[in-house]
Amino acid sequence: MIDEKEIIPRIIKGDIKAFSLLFDEYQNLVFHVAKRMIQNDADVEDVCQDVFIKIYKNIGSFAFKSKLSTWVAQITYSTSIDYLKKNRRHYIEFVSDDDKDYQTDDHSPADLLEQKDLSRYLNEIISELPSPYRLVITLFHLEEFSIQEIGDVTGMPEGTIKNYLFRARKLMKDKIKLYLRNDHAGR
């Protein structure tokens, strides 16, 4: 765990070693958020590189009003959104109330069952969720952000975040249930 109040002034003065420490601390957060939003491996590193350069350039504007991790996630989120818009990739900003629209592709669990790899299957179903679902799920469960912090990062209202979390989990749970049924049937 780095001491933000000690390290930020050093980065502002141009200390590359201090920035290297910040990189080590937040590389996973940046990777997870960008990866879940962009998905295409080839593009993720480009976006993440932009994110770290933006962090370096703008660290002077960080006012310690939030956690540094929230600020870093915010930059990653906005950079990823800009990238998706610029490249006109598929990005669903608003999710319809009807999750049936977003049922994951049934390239069937049975196919994936052959791999006998539940965690890979889980990654597969996460990747098929709508982008906002993926993002809130990643920030909440993997990065352990609070609902309020997710709101700070994405600008989404609290109710929307809770709703996305609930629906994303339910969608994934249904898929896992199906996976387990097929798994048992296959034995």
Partner: protein
């Protein structure tokens, strides 16, 4: 109704004590699926940055730092040159007679300073372009 049941299950999972609540759950299948889901969501995604990624980022940061230093240098040089020009103009303006015999030298100095300023600006412009291309 179905959503209420789902919400309850999710709340139990979030409480972090699913074992204590398990016996009260009627739908064991949903419960098991949620248990797998909640533990799976805490696991990191596959993959990560390439080995050279950190050094690539730090190199870019180094270039950015050098660019900032250069800008500072250009600004200082620009200010010095402008002050010099103002100073010389004032001397020429107020002591025109005394200075007239040194006019050639003064003009040469002024031309040199203006050229230097111009060169710095052009150099900086192309350096910026090069850095953008390198990105």
């Amino acid at each position: 109704m179905q959503d209420d049941k789902e919400k309850l299950l999710q709340q139990i999972m979030e409480s972090g004590k699913p074992q204590q609540n398990a016996p009260t759950i009627t739908d064991q299948e949903d419960f098991t699926a949620y248990k797998i889901l909640y533990s799976g969501l805490k696991k990191e995604t596959e993959g990560g940055f390439s080995l050279s990624f950190k050094s690539k980022v730090l190199r870019q940061i180094g270039l950015e730092k050098a660019r900032r230093n250069d800008i500072k240098l250009y600004v200082i040089a620009g200010i010095v040159i402008i002050i010099g020009l103002i100073f010389m103009t004032a001397i020429v303006f107020f002591h025109a007679d005394a200075i007239s015999k040194y006019a050639d030298v003064i003009i040469k100095i002024v031309v040199f300073l203006v050229s230097a300023l111009l060169c710095l600006t052009v150099f900086h412009y192309f350096e910026e372009k090069y850095l953008k291309l390198e990105k």
